[in-house]
C-alpha cells in the first residue's frame, strides 16, 4: 500500500494512542526531527506511561534505534529505558555482576548477524555439498543455542533473539529455489530447527524473525548501505521503525494485563452497512467491493482465534436481525459457534461489556473492543478505561488489517489449550444450557453424573510447564494465594524433591477442558505439608472438581506420612469466590490466621465421594505441548 506524506501537525491533533498508531501506519516513516514531537505528544496521552526496561546485546550498532524505540514505546504507553551492552557479542554481560543484569531488563534483545552463528557463513553456503551443509547447520544452531543458554542463565527477562537477514539475495540469484543446495531452503530449515529448540529447551525466549520484517517492508527499504558501511548500523528508517515497533509490542504483551477476548461490533465492522436498515440483502458482505474487505476481516479473525483469543459479539440491534445474518447469509464466515458469547440488544454497550465480562468470567482488562462508531468508542474509553478500544477504520480496505498491530494480540507462547479456547467456550455454553435443563429435571447430581467426567491428575510433570506457569499468571478469581510463577521458577519447583506440583484436566461427554487446575505443596519436614498455591480456571466451577482435586492430593500426602496440612487464604479484590474454600474442605483457622487440617483426625474421602472418575497419570496427556 503506498503511503501518504506525514503531516506532523495533523497527527499532533489526535487524542488517542490507537488513532495515532493507525494514522502512522498509513504514512511514510517520520523523519528524525519529527520523532521527538510525536513521541512527546503520544507520551502525554492517557493512560499514564509505564516503564519498560530493555537490554540490548549486539554485534552491530544499536544506539541509533533509540529514537525509534522511544516513539514505539510512547505509542503503546511505555517509557522505554534501554541499556546497550558494550559493543560486540560479549559473554561478560552474561554474568550476575554485569551491567546488563544490573539494569534489570524485562526484555533482552539480541541483535546477531549470520556470521555470529558460524564464521563459514561469510562464504556461500551453496558452495558446500549436502552433508557439509547439514554439518554447518547443526554447528550454527549449536553455537546460537550456546549463546542463548549463557544469557538465559541470568535474570534478564524475556529473551528476544534476532538474526540480521542477508543484505543481498541468494548467491544463485533467481535459480536458488530450484537448486539442490538452495540457500533459502537451508536458512528456512535452520530457522525451524532453532525455533523447535527454543520452544522445547529455552524458557522465556522468542525468535523474532527479521525475515518477516523484510517481507513486510521490502529489502530495499530495510537496509541503508551507507549507514552499514560507515557505522555498522543496518536499518533504514522504515526498518528501524518496524523492528522497534515489534520489540516494544512484545513489552506491551508482557507488561499489560493479558488480552483474552476480542469483542466485536457487527454493523460496519463484520459487514458493511446496517442490518436493521439495509436488510440481509442490502448489507455489504460478498465477493464485490466493499463486502470482500469485510469478508477478509472475518477470515483474519479466525487467525486470532488460533492464537487463543476468544471472539464475542456486542451489537445494538434486534437479535433476530443479527441471528439471520449469522445463520443465513451465504458469505458470513463467523457463525454462532465461533463466538464464545453473543450480546445483541439496545442497552448501552458499557453495560453489555460488563455483562459479557461476568458471563465469560473474564476481567474487563482482558477485552479488546472493536467498533466503528466514534460515540461508542469514546463512551467505552471514558467509562471503562481498562478496556482497550480499537476503532474500525472508516475505509473498508483498511479494515482487514486493523488488529494486526495491536501489541496485546501477539503471543509469546502458545499451548494447545490456547488454540482450542473458543471450542471450549462453545462447549461450555452448551453445558450451561444442559445444566439449566437438568436442574429443572432432576437436580445437580443427575446432571453431573450425565457428564461422565474423568479427571486426570499429573504430579511433578515438567511437560506442560508453559501452561502451568501461564495458569499462575492468568488466574485471578479461583486462586487462594495469587502467587505468580514464571517458567524458570515453576521448573525449579517441579524438579525439587521437597515440592509437589500437581495439575488436573477434565474430560466429559463434550470434550477436553485442557489443564485447568494447579496445586503447589511445599514439604518442609516429613509430616507437614504447606499449600502454597491452589487455583482453578473458572471454566470448570460448579462441578465439584476443586473438591475432588484437593481430596485426591490430600490422600496422596496422607499415604506418604503427612499428618498436618497448612494453608492460607490471601484475599484480593478478585478472589472473593474462594473465601470459604478452605473451611468447606476441612481446614480450620487458627489464632495466627493460618488454616490447618489434621489428616489423621480428619482423613480424606474415598474417590467415590465425587461425581467423576479420577486417574493419576504417570505421564502427561499426549496433546499437551
Amino acid at each position: 500500500m503506498s503511503k501518504r506524506k506525514l503531516e506532523v501537525d495533523e497527527l499532533l491533533e489526535l487524542g488517542t494512542r490507537d488513532a495515532l498508531r493507525q494514522a502512522l501506519r498509513r504514512t511514510a516513516s517520520p523523519i528524525l526531527p519529527q520523532i521527538q514531537r510525536l513521541t512527546d505528544h503520544a507520551a502525554g496521552l492517557a493512560p499514564a506511561m509505564r516503564e519498560l526496561r530493555l537490554g540490548v546485546v549486539r554485534s552491530y550498532t544499536s544506539e541509533l534505534l533509540d529514537p525509534w524505540l522511544g516513539l514505539a514505546g510512547a505509542l503503546e504507553g511505555l517509557d522505554v529505558q534501554t541499556y546497550h551492552a558494550p559493543y560486540g557479542l560479549n559473554f561478560a554481560e552474561a554474568d550476575a555482576k554485569s551491567g546488563l543484569v544490573a539494569h534489570r531488563p524485562e526484555i533482552t534483545l539480541m541483535l546477531l548477524t549470520r556470521e555470529d552463528l558460524h564464521p563459514d557463513l561469510a562464504r556461500p553456503v551453496v558452495g558446500l555439498v549436502a552433508d557439509e551443509q547439514a554439518k554447518l547447520a547443526s554447528q550454527a544452531r549449536d553455537r546460537l543455542l550456546a549463546i542463548v543458554t549463557a544469557f538465559r542463565a541470568e535474570n534478564i527477562g524475556h529473551l528476544v533473539i534476532t538474526i540480521l537477514p542477508g543484505q543481498t539475495g541468494p548467491a544463485l540469484g533467481v535459480y536458488d529455489p530450484q537448486s539442490e543446495r538452495s540457500e533459502a531452503a537451508w536458512w528456512a530449515a535452520l530457522k525451524a530447527d532453532i525455533g523447535q529448540h527454543l520452544r522445547t529447551g529455552v524458557e522465556a525466549s522468542l525468535l523474532l524473525d527479521l525475515d518477516e520484517v523484510l517481507a513486510q517492508i521490502g529489502r530495499e527499504a530495510f537496509f541503508d548501505s551507507r549507514l552499514w558501511y560507515s557505522a555498522r548500523f543496518p536499518f533504514a528508517p522504515a526498518a528501524a521503525r518496524e523492528v522497534s515497533r515489534r520489540v516494544v509490542g512484545l513489552g506491551a504483551a508482557l507488561k499489560f494485563p493479558k488480552a483474552k477476548a476480542i469483542v466485536l461490533d457487527a454493523d460496519n465492522t463484520l459487514w458493511g452497512g446496517i442490518i436493521g436498515e439495509d436488510g440481509i440483502d442490502g448489507i455489504e458482505l460478498g465477493h464485490e467491493y466493499p463486502g470482500n474487505a469485510y469478508m477478509a476481516f472475518q477470515r483474519r479473525l479466525l487467525d486470532f482465534q488460533q492464537r487463543g483469543f476468544i471472539l464475542a459479539l456486542c451489537s445494538k440491534n434486534n437479535p433476530a436481525d443479527v441471528d439471520q445474518v449469522l445463520n443465513e447469509h451465504p458469505h458470513q464466515i463467523l457463525k454462532p459457534e465461533h463466538f464464545a458469547a453473543i450480546c445483541v440488544n439496545w442497552e448501552p454497550k458499557t453495560d453489555n461489556l460488563a455483562a459479557l465480562a461476568e458471563e465469560l468470567n473474564l476481567g474487563l482488562d482482558s477485552f479488546i473492543f472493536v467498533d466503528d462508531s466514534d460515540y461508542e468508542c469514546a463512551l467505552v474509553r471514558r467509562e471503562l478505561p481498562e478496556v482497550e478500544v480499537v476503532q474500525t477504520p472508516a475505509r473498508p480496505v483498511e479494515v482487514p488489517y486493523c488488529l494486526d498491530q495491536v501489541a496485546r494480540l501477539e503471543l509469546l507462547s502458545l499451548t494447545l489449550e490456547d488454540q482450542k479456547k473458543t471450542e471450549m467456550y462453545a462447549q461450555e455454553r452448551i453445558r450451561r444450557q444442559l445444566r439449566q435443563n437438568a436442574e429443572r429435571n432432576g437436580g445437580l447430581e443427575a446432571y453431573l453424573a450425565s457428564l461422565e467426567m474423568v479427571m486426570t491428575v499429573g504430579i511433578d510433570d515438567p511437560a506442560p510447564l508453559k501452561r502451568l506457569a501461564q495458569l499462575t499468571q492468568k488466574t485471578n478469581q479461583f486462586n487462594l494465594t495469587t502467587r505468580r510463577y514464571d517458567e524458570p521458577h515453576m521448573r525449579r519447583l517441579i524438579d525439587a524433591s521437597n515440592w509437589m506440583v500437581s495439575y488436573f484436566s477434565l474430560k466429559d461427554v463434550f470434550g477436553e477442558s485442557g489443564i485447568v487446575g494447579l496445586a503447589l505443596f511445599d514439604l518442609p519436614e516429613p509430616a507437614v505439608a504447606e499449600l502454597d498455591t491452589f487455583l482453578m480456571s473458572c471454566r470448570v466451577i460448579g462441578r465439584k472438581a476443586e473438591s475432588a482435586f484437593i481430596n485426591v492430593l490430600l490422600k496422596r500426602l496422607a499415604a506418604s506420612g503427612v499428618r498436618e496440612v497448612l494453608a492460607d487464604y490471601l484475599p484480593t479484590p478478585k478472589n472473593g469466590l474462594v473465601t470459604s474454600f478452605l473451611p468447606d474442605h476441612g481446614f480450620a483457622i487458627d489464632a495466627d490466621g493460618r488454616f490447618r487440617r489434621d489428616l489423621v483426625a480428619n482423613p480424606p474421602l474415598p474417590d467415590a465421594a465425587y461425581p467423576m472418575a479420577i486417574e493419576i497419570s504417570a505421564k502427561s496427556p499426549a496433546e499437551l505441548v
Binding site: 523523519i31 528524525l32 526531527p33 521527538q36 550498532t61 544506539e63 541509533l64 529514537p67 551507507r226 549507514l227 558501511y229 560507515s230 557505522a231 548500523f233 528508517p237
Partner: protein, 78 residues
C-alpha cells in the same frame, strides 16, 4: 526562516540542546552531545529536512555549522 535558522533547529532537536548553544561557528568539538552516534543521526536529519542525498565521504566533512551551511548553499538550498 533563513538557512542558518533551519540548520540550527535540526541540530538542536537532534542533539537535544537549546538553540542558543548553536552559533554560526559551532563545531562538533564544542558540544559534548555531538558524538559519533549523534553525528549519524544529524546527517540523516539534514538529509530528510533538506531533501539532499549525502555520501559516506560527506559524513566526515560536515562536522561544523560552517561546513554544513556551505554544503547546503552549494546544493541550492539557501
Amino acid at each position: 526562516m533563513d538557512l542558518f535558522d533551519q540548520v540550527q533547529h535540526v541540530i538542536a532537536t537532534t542533539l537535544k540542546v537549546t538553540p542558543d548553544k548553536i552559533s554560526r561557528e559551532t563545531s562538533d568539538k564544542d558540544l559534548a552531545s555531538w558524538d559519533s552516534i549523534a553525528h549519524v543521526n544529524l546527517m540523516m536529519g539534514l538529509e530528510q529536512t533538506f531533501d539532499v542525498l549525502l555520501e559516506v565521504e560527506e559524513f566526515a566533512q560536515l562536522t561544523s555549522v560552517p561546513a554544513i551551511l556551505e554544503y547546503l548553499t552549494g546544493q541550492g538550498k539557501a
